[in-house]
C-alpha cells in the first residue's frame, strides 16, 4: 500500500521540477523492455553459436517448444495445468488456514496485553525461521502428504498476516473509537464495526506479502517432498537433465508470482479505495 502510493506520487513531483524545454526522458517501461530484449538476444546468440552446451542452456526456441509440450502433453504424468493446479490448491488452502488463524491472533495481539504476551514470542520465534528448516519436523509430525506442505506454507504466511493485523489494529484512530462509543457501541461492536474495518487495508497488505512468502515456500517444499506441483516438476526434470523443462518451470513460477501480486493489488484497490484517502 505504502509502496504503491509512493510510486503514484513520484512522477507528479518529477513533472513539477522538470524544466519546461527539457527533452522527454526515455520511459522506464521502454528501458525495461529493452533489457529483457537484450537478455533474450544474448541467450539466443549463446545457444545459436553453441557457446554453451544445450544441456546447460537450451535455446529459447527449445524452451518455447518445451512449454508448448508441457501444456499439451505434460511431464511426469501430469500436464502443466495439473501441476499448476496442484500448487495453487496448496497455496490457497494454506492462505485460508493462515487467514483463519492469523487474523484472530493479530486481533488478540493488537487489543489485549495478555494476548500480546502469549503470542508475541511465538510469532517472533517463527518469523525469522526459514520454512525449509522446520519442514522435516512437520513431515515427521503430519506425514509426507498434502497436510505437511499446507502446514509449512501456512506457517510461512502466518507471521506477516498476524503482524499486519496487529499493526492495523493498533493504528486505529482513537477518535473513531470514541465516536462509536458515544453513538452507543459496546466493546464488541467497537471491535467489529470500527477496529476491524479500519485494519482491513493493513490486513490486505499482509495477505499480499504472505502470498509472496507462501509461493516461495511452496516451490521449495515441492522440490523436497511432493509427487505433483510445479516445484516437483522442475525437480524431476532436473534429475533427467531436461533443462528446457526446468527453465520453462522457472518462467511459469515467475509469471504466477507476478499474476498473484497483480490480483492482490487489484483486490486491495477494489476493497479499500478509502485507504489512500485517510
Amino acid at each position: 500500500m505504502i509502496l504503491s502510493t509512493e510510486l503514484d506520487v513520484l512522477p507528479i513531483d518529477a513533472k513539477d521540477t522538470e524544466p519546461a524545454r527539457a527533452t522527454r526522458p526515455i520511459p522506464t517501461a521502454l528501458i525495461s523492455t529493452l533489457t529483457v530484449g537484450v537478455i533474450l538476444g544474448l541467450w539466443g546468440l549463446a545457444s545459436a553459436y553453441a557457446l554453451v552446451s544445450p544441456v546447460f542452456l537450451p535455446s529459447p526456441r527449445q524452451v518455447v517448444i518445451a512449454l508448448y509440450n508441457l501444456v499439451v502433453k505434460g511431464f511426469v504424468d501430469a500436464t502443466l495445468a495439473e501441476h499448476v493446479g496442484a500448487s495453487l490448491t496448496r497455496i490457497f488452502g494454506a492462505l485460508i488456514a493462515s487467514i483463519i488463524i492469523g487474523i484472530p491472533a493479530g486481533l488478540a495481539i493488537g487489543t489485549s496485553r495478555v494476548g500480546r504476551g502469549i503470542l508475541d514470542p511465538i510469532v517472533e520465534f517463527l518469523r525469522p525461521l526459514p520454512p525449509l528448516a522446520y519442514l522435516p519436523l512437520v513431515i515427521i509430525w503430519v506425514g509426507i502428504g498434502e497436510a505437511s506442505k499446507i502446514t509449512v506454507i501456512a506457517l510461512s504466511m502466518l507471521p506477516s498476516i498476524i503482524l499486519s493485523t496487529s499493526a492495523g489494529v493498533r493504528a486505529v484512530s482513537k477518535e473513531h473509537i470514541n465516536a462509536a462509543r458515544s453513538l452507543g457501541a459496546g466493546k464488541r461492536q467497537v471491535l467489529t464495526e470500527v477496529v476491524l474495518p479500519s485494519a482491513v487495508p493493513s490486513i490486505l497488505t499482509g495477505i499480499r506479502i504472505a502470498l509472496g512468502a507462501g509461493w516461495t515456500t511452496l516451490v521449495a517444499a515441492e522440490l523436497v517432498a511432493a509427487t505433483s506441483g510445479i516445484g516437483f516438476m522442475i525437480q524431476s526434470a532436473a534429475q533427467f537433465l531436461v533443462t528446457d523443462i526446468v527453465i520453462s518451470g522457472i518462467i511459469v513460477i515467475a509469471l504466477i508470482a507476478i499474476f498473484l501480486e497483480y490480483i492482490a493489488r487489484l483486490i486491495e484497490r477494489r476493497l479499500v479505495p478509502w485507504a489512500s484517502h485517510r
Binding site: 477518535e175 453513538l183 470500527v194 484517502h277
Partner: protein, 267 residues
C-alpha cells in the same frame, strides 16, 4: 425535558513519568453547570483552557477526579448514545459512504438494513444533502462532512448533543451558513446541546447561554443569557442581530472577560 448536570467537577491529569515528565496537572476545578434540553450552552475559552476535557467528561470518555456528572439524576459512567458527540475533525468512517455513516448508530441498535437506510436518507434530506448519500467521505467538502457528522449524531436520538468546535475548521462563509444550520437543526431535534467554540460571536449567536472557561485551572468565571438565537429562529437577520447595540455590548464584555484571564496569567 432532560438535564445534564456537572456538580463540583474537577479533573486532574496524572503526572507523566519519564523524560519530559510533568507533575499532576489540574485542568478543571470545581465546575458547576446545568444544561437543559431546550438550551444550547456555548462554552468559550482560550485554547488549552480545558474545553475539550470538559466535553470529554460529559461524553464519558473521561471520569472526573472528583464531583459528579449526571443525566436526569443518573450518574454518567461512560459514553452512551444519550450524549452523542460531534468532533472538530468529523471522525466519520471512510470505509462507509455518507448514508451508512449516518445509519451507523442505527446499525449499532440492530435496526434492519432497509429501515436504517431509509431513516438515514430522511436525515440526509434534513441536513440538505439529499443527493449525497452514495458519496464517499473524501468526496465531501468540510461543511458537508460536518453536516453528515451532525446527522450521524442525531440518528442516535441523543438527549444531548456535545459539539467540540464543530465549525472550527471551516472557512468563514461556510461557517456562517453552518451556524444557521446548526441553530435550526438543534431546535428541531429537541436535544439539549453543549457547544464549544473559541469564537465569541458564534457563542453569542448560537447560545441560549454563554459560559466562560478561564484557564489554569479551568473554572467557569462568567455566565450570560444571550437569547439572540431565539431572535434568529424567529426570522431576524443575523447581520441585524450582530449590528444591534446589545450584541456589541455583550461581545465587548465577553472579550474583556477572556482578556482579563490573560492579564491575570501575565501578572
Amino acid at each position: 425535558m432532560s438535564i445534564l448536570t456537572f456538580r463540583n467537577v474537577s479533573l486532574t491529569y496524572p503526572a507523566r513519568t519519564g523524560r519530559g515528565g510533568t507533575g499532576d496537572k489540574c485542568v478543571l476545578d470545581g465546575i458547576n453547570l446545568q444544561v437543559a434540553s431546550d438550551e444550547l450552552v456555548a462554552i468559550i475559552g482560550r485554547s488549552g483552557s480545558g474545553k475539550t476535557s470538559l466535553l470529554n467528561l460529559a461524553a464519558g470518555f473521561l471520569t472526573p477526579t472528583s464531583g459528579t456528572i449526571t443525566v436526569d439524576g443518573a450518574p454518567v459512567t461512560g459514553p452512551g448514545a444519550d450524549r452523542a458527540v460531534v468532533f472538530q475533525d468529523d471522525a466519520l468512517y471512510p470505509w462507509l459512504d455518507a448514508r451508512d455513516n449516518i445509519a451507523f448508530p442505527l446499525k449499532l441498535k440492530g435496526v434492519p438494513l432497509a429501515e436504517r437506510r431509509a431513516r438515514a436518507d430522511a436525515l440526509l434530506a434534513r441536513v440538505g444533502l439529499a443527493d449525497a448519500g452514495d458519496r464517499r467521505i473524501w468526496e465531501l467538502s468540510g461543511g458537508m462532512r460536518q453536516r453528515v457528522g451532525i446527522a450521524r449524531a442525531l440518528a442516535a436520538e441523543p438527549r444531548f448533543l456535545l459539539l467540540d468546535e464543530p465549525l472550527g475548521a471551516l472557512d468563514a462563509l461556510t461557517r456562517t451558513r453552518m451556524q444557521d444550520f446548526l441553530l435550526r437543526i438543534k431546535a428541531e431535534s429537541g436535544a439539549g446541546a453543549v457547544l464549544i467554540t473559541h469564537s465569541i460571536e458564534e457563542a453569542l449567536l448560537l447560545g441560549t447561554r454563554v459560559v466562560v472557561l478561564a484557564p489554569n485551572p479551568g473554572r467557569l468565571t462568567a455566565e450570560i443569557e444571550a437569547g439572540f438565537n431565539a431572535e434568529i429562529l424567529n426570522g431576524a437577520a443575523v447581520a441585524d442581530v450582530k449590528a444591534s447595540p446589545i450584541f456589541k455590548r455583550m461581545h465587548a464584555g465577553l472579550t474583556g472577560l477572556i482578556h482579563a484571564g490573560e492579564e491575570e496569567l501575565a501578572a
